[in-house]
């Protein structure tokens, strides 16, 4: 049952985001493991389930980060839908992982921009804020996505992919 794999991915992503991300932060810029997990789930499960997982994990992220409830849910459901639309499981095969990383980077910019507009617009230093809160985290997330896509053995991706899909409805 691949639902279990996705659940594990999300729980690991939440644990990494709240327990480890600050350890790898560079000058306050940390990677977004939750976004990477939503993108990965969308690759396997398609954009429908990707959207649902994005919305679900987004609500949990909202309630933990102090942001407005619904902001992460909105951004991550869009991320799940778009990543499931433009990428497939083939994106994770080594020859294409650079493309997958690049798409994660673009989606990270989209997500961060949306969150910036909803949560922290109007604060001092708007341009610097955009760089600090939107661009730099997206670039760093792209970097981590490439590392994760590269270090997780192809056999594990294969195993998740070949598991019988769970019907959505």
């Amino acid at each position: 049952m691949n639902l279990l794999y996705y659940l594990v991915m999300m729980v690991v992503a939440l644990g990494l985001q709240h327990g480890v991300s600050d350890l790898v932060a560079i000058r306050g810029v940390s990677p977004d493991f939750i976004l990477i997990a939503v993108c990965a789930v969308s690759l396997f499960a398609g954009r429908g389930q990707g959207t649902l997982w994005g919305a679900g994990i987004g609500f949990i992220a909202d309630s933990l980060s102090g942001s407005l409830l619904g902001s992460h849910a909105l951004a991550l459901s869009l991320v799940g839908f778009i990543s499931g639309s433009v990428m497939s499981y083939r994106s994770l095969q080594s020859a294409y992982s650079l493309n997958a990383g690049a798409i994660v980077g673009v989606l990270a910019v989209l997500q961060n921009l949306l969150l910036y507009i909803i949560n922290i617009q109007g604060t001092a230093g708007a341009l610097q804020g955009m760089i600090q809160a939107v661009l730099l985290p997206a670039i760093y997330t792209l970097f981590w996505a490439l590392i994760i896509f590269a270090i997780v053995p192809q056999s594990i991706w294969e195993k998740i992919y070949k598991t019988e899909p769970t019907p959505l409805f």
């Binding site: 327990g19 306050g28 849910a73 909105l74 869009l78 949560n119 959505l168």
Partner: protein, 268 residues
């Protein structure tokens, strides 16, 4: 048949997206009141708090040697400082008696351990291992030995989240300790905060200590925020742009304290 299934799958995906966006927007517009948030925060905080606690314990164990060495150094420095402060204390008591001032009550503190941190998209928050059961309430001030850490944002039975001073949505009334000039402290990113609202003629120097002024209702006065690292004189307009280097390093933070109330005073 295959074509029909493709069309239905296409429509289903768009319907899911539409519903997800609708629910998210609904939450954004209608579910951000304190009561709704309270119950959602309580459930998710309990879950994530239990998840991150073992990780925090492991990190604490790995950092024990470094922390021990650092504490020895701090201990030596504090012993020296303590001797100086004891002198100052007796002098202060004598002068207060002379002036007839009431002694300021010390604060009632709740000790807590940081079990999780999150820093993304300009938002910065901490998860602490204390909650409503220990008397923690929303908006209580969180401090460390080095100064202000933030304010309690949400509380569950055994955990709470803290909006840290490095959150771009965070601001507090602050003042220059030496000249008593008041302004507003905000986080700017790049490891520095900014003090706004100080006139060009204001007496501020590099190295001045910035503390909370206590003029807003959340933070008690006198908590250290940081030191002035740079003053932008070229800024046009009526105000100076004063950059503040924070005193507290959130990445190294393990133990914090929540100010419950002044001892013998009203709850915060």
């Amino acid at each position: 048949m295959k074509k029909d299934s493709k069309i239905s799958s296409f429509l289903r995906d768009w319907l899911i997206l539409f519903l997800a966006v609708l629910v998210s927007l609904g939450a954004l517009f209608f579910a951000n009141d304190a009561r709704t948030l309270g119950s959602i925060h309580t459930i998710s905080l309990e879950i994530i708090g239990r998840m991150t606690e073992p990780l925090a314990n492991l990190r604490a164990y790995l950092a024990l040697e470094t922390e021990n060495r650092r504490l020895h150094e701090i201990n030596a420095a504090l012993q020296l400082k303590n001797a100086q402060m004891a002198e100052a204390w007796y002098e202060n008591v004598r002068l207060r008696q002379l002036l007839g001032f009431k002694m300021t009550a010390p604060y009632d503190l709740i000790a807590a351990t940081v079990t999780g941190r999150q820093q993304q998209q300009g938002l910065s928050s901490l998860i602490l291992d204390v909650g409503a059961a220990q008397g923690v309430r929303v908006n209580m001030t969180v401090v460390s030995a080095d100064g202000l850490v933030g304010r309690v944002h949400s509380v569950s039975a055994s955990y709470c989240t803290v909006q840290a001073f490095e959150d771009r949505a965070f601001s507090c009334a602050a003042m220059v300790q030496r000249s008593r000039l008041e302004g507003m402290f905000k986080w700017e990113g790049y490891n520095r905060g900014i003090l706004t609202g100080i006139y060009l003629s204001g007496d501020v120097r590099r190295g001045d200590l910035i503390v909370t002024s206590g003029t807003n209702s959340i933070f008690v006065p006198g908590l250290k925020l940081g030191t002035v690292s740079f003053i932008d004189e070229a800024e046009s307009g009526m105000y100076r742009k004063i950059y503040v280097e924070p005193k507290v390093d959130l990445a190294l933070l393990r133990e914090v304290y929540i100010i419950r109330r002044p001892q013998g005073g009203a709850p915060q």
